[in-house]
């Protein structure tokens, strides 16, 4: 499908001979919230980095809106990594200015409003902010872009429930209407309600990709329960779901 927002064709990524992603074929359309689900270490972050252009494929192709990852695709992709990428020397005003300078789709007014509601002042040095505040600031910056694709790598891992609500609320309130949000996580229960589609990734392969409604209807259980079942069975050496 050439009109997919994301298209992976026989995508493979190896680190020094050891394959992390194996022969991935994936198509994801626009205007939906998709969960990239799998236990830690299955290659979720690697796939997201490939989509961002932070890594190059070992084999196969990856296309964002029909383009190979590069400056044009980066202009429409908004990425939230699972670590903080701030330079300590910046203050809030600096980072807002940077996003405004480089991204045409950045809504500075909206970002400033969200910062203000968190009590972040323009002159606040990032170095002096608490971890929680920094995480939220990073989220605000990412979600204030009217991007075509949002890539969120483990946005709610390791945060308390109150922060989790804030994060999910911020995501749902701010993503651009025709945009796609790809959330990678191993904590499915918390975000299942938010998803249109889910992708199960195991050992570097896509073992399931379907709408959440379909999954629930076909398997008669929540995606969370299905996930536990599928991945537990494999751990016990039982029958492995194969495509």
């Amino acid at each position: 499908m050439s009109d997919s927002l994301i298209s992976c064709q026989a995508l493979t990524k190896s680190y020094g001979g050891a394959p992390v992603l194996k022969d991935i074929d994936l198509d994801i359309g626009a205007g939906r919230i998709v969960g990239l689900l799998g236990p830690n270490g299955t290659g979720k972050t690697t796939l997201i980095k490939l989509l961002c252009g932070l890594l190059q494929p070992t084999a196969g192709r990856i296309l964002i809106n029909g383009m190979v990852p590069g400056p044009e695709s980066k202009a429409i992709v908004s990425y939230l990594p699972d670590k903080m990428y701030f330079a300590d020397w910046m203050n809030a005003r600096d980072i807002l200015g940077l996003f405004e300078d480089f991204y045409e789709d950045f809504d500075r007014t909206r970002a400033e409003a969200m910062c203000a509601s968190l009590g972040i002042k323009p002159g606040d040095r990032i170095k002096t902010m608490s971890k929680g505040t920094k995480e939220k600031l990073q989220l605000i910056l990412v979600m204030s872009r009217r991007a075509r694709l949002y890539l969120l790598d483990e946005p709610i891992a390791g945060v308390d429930p109150a922060a989790r609500d804030y994060i999910m609320n911020t995501i749902l309130t701010n993503y651009s209407p025709d945009g796609t949000v790809l959330i990678s996580t191993h904590l499915i229960g918390d975000i299942e309600r938010v998803l249109d589609e889910a992708i199960f990734l195991q050992d570097g392969r896509v073992i399931l990709h379907d709408s959440v409604d379909n999954m629930r209807a076909v398997h008669g259980k929540s995606v969370d329960a299905l996930f536990r079942e599928m991945f537990r069975m494999t751990q016990e050496g039982g029958e492995q779901y194969a495509r």
Binding site: L54, Q56, G70, K74, Y85, D94, D101
Partner: protein, 275 residues
Amino acid sequence: MLGKLIKYDLKSYFKLFPLIWLAAIVLAFVNHFTLRHFSEAEASGVAELLGLVLPILVYVAAIVTLAVLTLILIIRRFYSGALKEEGYLVFTLPVKPWQIVVAKAIAATIVTIITSVVTVISVLLLMDWAEVTRAIGELFHGLFHNEYITGGQCAALMAEAVIVGIVGIAVSIYRIYCAIALGHLFNKHRGGMAVLMYIAISIVLSALGSTVVANLIFGLDTNWIDEFLRKISEATNTFGFISLGMLGLFLVSAVQIVIYHIVTERILSKRLNLE
């Protein structure tokens, strides 16, 4: 986009440097007067000696700090600023990797130039101003009015010298970047490997520069170099000769910059592996 990247890096440097530049100038100024005072008033006694020595020590410390800090920050802006966490930010900006490298190199060069100028000015401030002005005046007069080159040619040579100087600064910076990028190819101890790479590059450079290697390559003794120089000095005037020399220096740096840039850019484009 390139301009924005340069601005962003300069912002980082300018959070710290203006203060130190100012400190260097101010301390030079202060020392100018303390030195004067003591040279005129035949100092004796410990307290007065301290009053003379302390300001000088502080000044020297400031200048050394300036030089060291410039180097450290330039390294940091590349190593931490592109290849650690900040890399997640920088390499997802809608720019090409070469723009990131070039922008950082330009910003680092600008900062180094300013630091050098500040250092020179501070040294001049330290000395007797009348003497300095007179000496500079004499120097310039001698340069512009002599039998070897015309005034115009002198100005041209000065411009060439400035260019060679700037390119010389840039090549040192690019050499560091290249070493850091090569170090990035390894999965562990990237910092240590970068240092090793820098040493390796330096060894290669000095090997290339030595005439022993040249002899091996050309299978001749060094007489051909003397021949070459003699032929040129016969064919050109002083201006042409010196300019040719400058051109040679320029090319040596420029070729290195091109090589370092390509190596660095290719590594960051194809082999980037943050974390």
